[in-house]
């Protein structure tokens, strides 16, 4: 019964997938209310996961034959996935209505993707991880190529698929090596074996770690496994880009953290060194390349790569005894993910609104946005400032925690690279603000932009959250620290 209740949010998401898909198949009439059905499912799932958060007794145990971890960390990502489902559905409503006739498929894949996100975070077994990973990847490929008559969308999808298959294959190879070394696919069992492993077997574990990091690096869009992301972001329908940028990356981090701290704590020195390298490359490459981008979706893709680099700092600075304390790396990561969710979803809501209205994603077409829509320009400033990390927005709290964890763990060089990168990042985010506020409108096309209601909701909610996380950070930090009370180990 406890297990059933625990998995209820996932069950509801899955049920909504089946319903939306099934009802769409029945009869030939267009059903305009399908998006609302999807939204209802997502909202119920969110409501239940939030409600259970304060109420349910959970333990750090694995259930369903060791496949699912029932800990507070899973709970956090249940909420995360439901939030993604709700917001992406809202984001898509006005946009997809115009752009595509295939409403049923679209929303069922969004929900299926969100379901896969939470499933991935819940997995505590290599087999389960691979299944959830593939489920998420395949939903993402389909969503990316959803505009199949748009060559860019198709190209993005193919590219994403090819990269993804390769990464999955390498990850699977790594998993099989790990299974070979430990004779188990259960993360907890693996950790037990690895704790006392014969040193001569290390040569199997090392490549296993490297190969699995390729897979996780792909999912989190961490350099040098990021090449798919700018193209996929640019070609995908804009709400799908938001899904990839927030949901898919969040899931990647969830499983990266889970595997590293649950199964491989004995090898922290090794994966720590690798991830430090990935982090430095990601931050630097992401920020430097983002500067020269003309398309805002590509810019956000590269900035996402940079943010993945910042987030990895938290994992590097992880110390098992410090979970949930001040400047513990993992609470830094989870706060950062929340902040990033709000700011990035908000930014993509703005991008969607402008794409919807003007059909353009070029940064220069944001000129004079303050005149065309003060709401869009005003909220976009908040999101961009949060991504820079200016105090008063959530971004600052996230950066404070992550950089603080690096200093606490005495990774001074990493902290230094991170702050230098934060300054570089200031440049391209400000560039967007510059266009919105400083460049005059010179075209007659500069009429006012009317916002669809669903987009306004996303904008206002994410903006309020971004500001709240900066001004009244306590409840959010508390939420995260509670989520880290029970982590499978």
């Amino acid at each position: 019964m406890q297990i059933f209740l625990f998995l209820l949010p996932q069950l509801i998401l899955f049920l909504s997938v089946v319903l939306v898909f099934g009802i769409d198949l029945m009869g030939s009439k267009e059903k305009k209310w399908l998006p609302y059905l999807a939204l209802t499912g997502a909202v119920i799932s969110l409501g239940i996961s939030l409600y259970q958060y304060g109420w349910m007794e959970i333990e750090e145990i694995t259930v369903l034959g060791g496949m699912i971890a029932m800990d507070s960390f899973s709970h956090f990502f249940q909420i995360f996935a439901s939030l993604v489902a709700v917001f992406i559905t809202l984001l898509s409503m006005a946009y997809m209505k115009v752009k595509s006739p295939y409403q049923g498929e679209y929303y069922s894949f969004i929900l299926l993707g969100s379901f896969a996100i939470s499933l991935l975070a819940l997995s505590s077994d290599l087999v389960m991880i691979f299944i959830a990973f593939e489920l998420l990847s395949i939903s993402s490929y389909i969503l990316t190529g959803f505009f199949r008559y748009d060559p860019k969308s198709s190209e993005a999808s193919i590219k994403y698929f090819l990269y993804g298959s390769l990464a999955s294959a390498m990850m699977l190879y790594g998993m099989s090596l790990l299974y070979g070394a430990t004779a188990s696919t259960n993360l907890v069992e693996i950790a037990k074996v690895l704790a006392n492993i014969d040193p001569s077997l290390n040569w199997i574990v090392y490549p296993a770690i490297v190969l699995m990091l390729v897979g996780f690096g792909f999912k989190t869009a961490t350099a040098p496994f990021h090449q798919w992301s700018p193209d996929a972001y640019e070609g995908a329908p804009t709400p799908v880009t938001a899904f990839l940028a927030v949901g898919s990356i969040g899931a990647g981090f969830a499983i990266l953290i889970r595997v590293m701290i649950t199964a491989l704590p004995a090898f922290q020195l090794n994966w720590g060194a690798l991830i430090t390298g990935l982090s430095i490359i990601s931050m630097t490459l992401g920020n430097l390349v983002a500067i020269s981008q003309k398309n805002i979706k590509r810019m956000l893709a590269y900035s996402g790569i940079a943010h993945a680099g910042y987030i990895l700092i938290g994992l590097v600075s992880w110390e098992s005894g410090l979970l949930g304390t001040v400047f513990d790396g993992l609470s830094g990561i989870l706060v950062y993910l929340l902040v990033y969710l709000a700011a990035n979803l908000g930014a993509f809501a703005v991008v969607t609104a402008i794409d919807h209205k003007t059909g353009s994603n070029q940064i220069e077409d944001y000129a004079g946005l303050i005149k065309r829509s003060p709401l869009l320009a005003g909220t976009m400033v908040v999101f961009l400032l949060s991504l820079i990390g200016i105090p008063g927005t959530g971004g600052f709290v996230g950066k404070l925690l992550v950089f603080g964890s690096a200093l606490r763990a005495e990774y001074y060089f990493l902290a230094l690279v991170a702050i230098i990168n934060s300054v570089i990042a200031g440049f391209y985010y400000l560039n967007v603000i510059r266009y919105m506020f400083f460049q005059p409108l010179d075209e007659p096309s500069g009429e006012k932009i009317q916002l669809p209601g669903s987009l306004s909701v996303v904008l206002v909610v994410t903006c309020v959250f971004t500001l709240l996380m900066g001004i009244i950070a306590q409840p959010f930090i508390h939420f995260v620290q509670t989520s880290l009370k029970l982590v499978l180990s």
């Binding site: 400047f327 200016i390 008063g392 950066k399 603080g404 200093l407 934060s422 950070a473 930090i477």
Partner: protein, 515 residues
């Protein structure tokens, strides 16, 4: 007395900005006047604090402390001593004057302008009363964004370049400071500025202390700005709208120097003394700022840029005064009454210079703005003989210019006197080099500003040619109203510096005797 007066001073402008936000865009005059009149409230409160704050023993008063982010040990901590009180008055006064001046000069996007300006005031006032590092940092950075937008939207021709340069320079400095703040927290276990200073972080670890010291120092030095971190300043000041320049020079630069006095000096006295006396990097940078800044002024033909560089030079005195106070800890005979007295005098000079430079340079930027609004040029060579055409303006400019060059009887004199008195006692070589700056300052004020612009024959043809037949009118009433409070203060402090130094002296004494 439980009224949270410091919170009120800080957050009333935020409230006003929200009021501005809900007034419809079309009612421009309502926005202008309500913002200006309501901004008298923080001014009145600041003046109240100035009168009520106890000079002795120079400790923090009006304290407020609430838990803010308990998980991170971050508190909402405010407090003010004499120095904070003086800076609050400066901030509120200049803000109100700018808001008033803008009623007549800002025609475009009025609502956004007033909203951003008031937000800027929140950031500035907050810095002067924060006693918690994170809280301090939040205010420190909040001011950045409105200033960036003020320069970018309402600025001059190269505003986009100037605004982004300003933002990135300051961001780089604050990021270094953020790391130092976290390091201090990890060392001392508190974000409380006073407690952290009392704990003397990294006292046993010289390398770490030096790194943390320089991280803070550079963070603040960029804002002051101290050579070689000054290059953002001429661009930002020149391109900003008049009121933006006034606030930049009048208050924002002071934030950096205030940080040096309030945070760096008490927390790292040993390092500060070491780099002021044994390895005198800081006084060297200070005198370079002073002399180089003044020399560049001599070579400038753009009036606004000239005043901007004069800020580099004048803020050099502040750095010199602080480093002299620090050096006194390591001079032979440190600890004697004589050394302590000079240290206090040096620090008094530095903190007095914050206030006097604020009103004088604020005034100068207003004056430059007024002539630019008439002529639409700032080239000194385009002017000449204006004294006869604009006698009232000429008079006010004379007083402000003389105050700037340190004429006895006006405000600038005392701060420079104190700075050099403190410096001569501790590090005389730098006082001797630095005093060259005074000579050059007199030269560029008299030669460039007074002689080239006001004296000589007025040439109507040339004026018509360069200004496209602009009318020459003397100061309008609103311009007089803007300038008079500043001029009165320059004269008052010139005649009776005790108005300000009575409070500053107590703070300096308390600070120096703590070491």
């Amino acid at each position: 007395m439980n009224f949270p007066v410091l919170s009120a001073i800080t957050f009333v402008p935020l409230l006003i900005s929200l009021i501005v936000l809900i007034i419809p865009k079309s009612k421009e005059n309502l926005i202008r006047w309500s913002a200006t009149i309501l901004s008298l409230i923080p001014l009145a409160l600041a003046i109240y604090v100035y009168f009520v704050v106890q000079a002795d023993p120079g400790t923090m008063q009006f304290k407020e402390e609430y838990s803010w982010i308990p998980s991170l040990d971050v508190y909402y901590r405010m407090g003010a001593d004499g120095l904070s009180a003086i800076m609050l008055v400066l901030t509120a006064l200049l803000s109100t004057l700018c808001l008033y001046y803008s009623i007549y000069t800002i025609k475009d996007r009025v609502k956004e302008y007033y909203f951003l300006f008031l937000l800027l005031q929140v950031g500035m006032s907050g810095v002067f009363v924060s006693l918690d590092f994170i809280f301090f940092y939040v205010f420190w950075e909040i001011g950045l964004v409105p200033m960036y937008l003020l320069i970018g939207v309402w600025g001059g021709k190269r505003r986009i370049y100037a605004s982004i340069k300003f933002f990135l320079y300051t961001l780089a400095g604050s990021m270094a400071m953020l790391l130092a703040i976290i390091a201090v927290y990890l060392e001392t276990g508190t974000f409380d500025i006073l407690k952290a200073a009392a704990a003397q972080p990294f006292a046993g670890n010289l390398t770490f202390a030096a790194v943390a010291f320089w991280a803070f120092f550079i963070g603040f030095a960029i804002k002051v700005p101290i050579f070689p971190f000054h290059t953002w300043l001429p661009d930002a000041h020149t391109e900003a709208p008049t009121t933006g320049s006034v606030i930049l020079a009048g208050v924002l630069l002071k934030l950096g120097a205030y940080g040096l006095i309030r945070i760096v000096l008490p927390m790292f006295p040993e390092q500060f003394a070491y780099y002021s006396y044994e390895v005198p990097i800081i006084p060297i940078l200070a005198v370079i700022s002073i002399v180089y800044g003044a020399l560049v002024c001599m070579a400038q033909w753009d009036l606004k840029r000239l005043i901007a560089y004069s800020s580099v030079s004048h803020m050099g005195y502040v750095t010199l005064g602080i480093s002299a106070a620090a050096a006194s800890l390591h001079v032979p005979g440190a600890g004697t009454e004589q050394a302590i007295t000079s240290a206090i005098i040096g620090l008094n000079g530095a903190s007095l210079q914050l206030f006097t430079h604020g009103i004088i340079t604020g005034g100068l930027f207003f004056l430059v703005g007024m002539i630019y609004d008439r002529a639409h040029t700032r080239q000194i060579k385009d002017f000449g003989g204006l004294g006869a055409k604009m006698p009232y303006y000429y008079g006010i400019m004379m007083v402000t210019g003389f105050a700037s060059l340190g004429l006895p009887g006006l405000a600038g004199f005392w701060s420079e006197l104190f700075v050099f008195r403190g410096t001569f006692a501790a590090i005389p070589v730098f006082a001797m080099i630095g005093i060259l700056g005074l000579v050059f300052t007199a030269a560029y004020i008299l030669w460039k500003v007074i002689q080239h612009v006001f004296l000589g024959e007025f040439d109507q043809e040339k004026w018509d040619a360069v200004t496209h037949n602009a009318k020459i009118t003397d100061m309008a009433t609103f311009e007089k109203v803007t300038m008079w409070p500043l001029v009165i203060l320059m004269v008052l402090i010139g005649l009776y510096p005790s108005l300000v130094t009575r409070l500053l002296n107590a703070v300096s004494t308390a600070m120096i005797s703590n070491f």
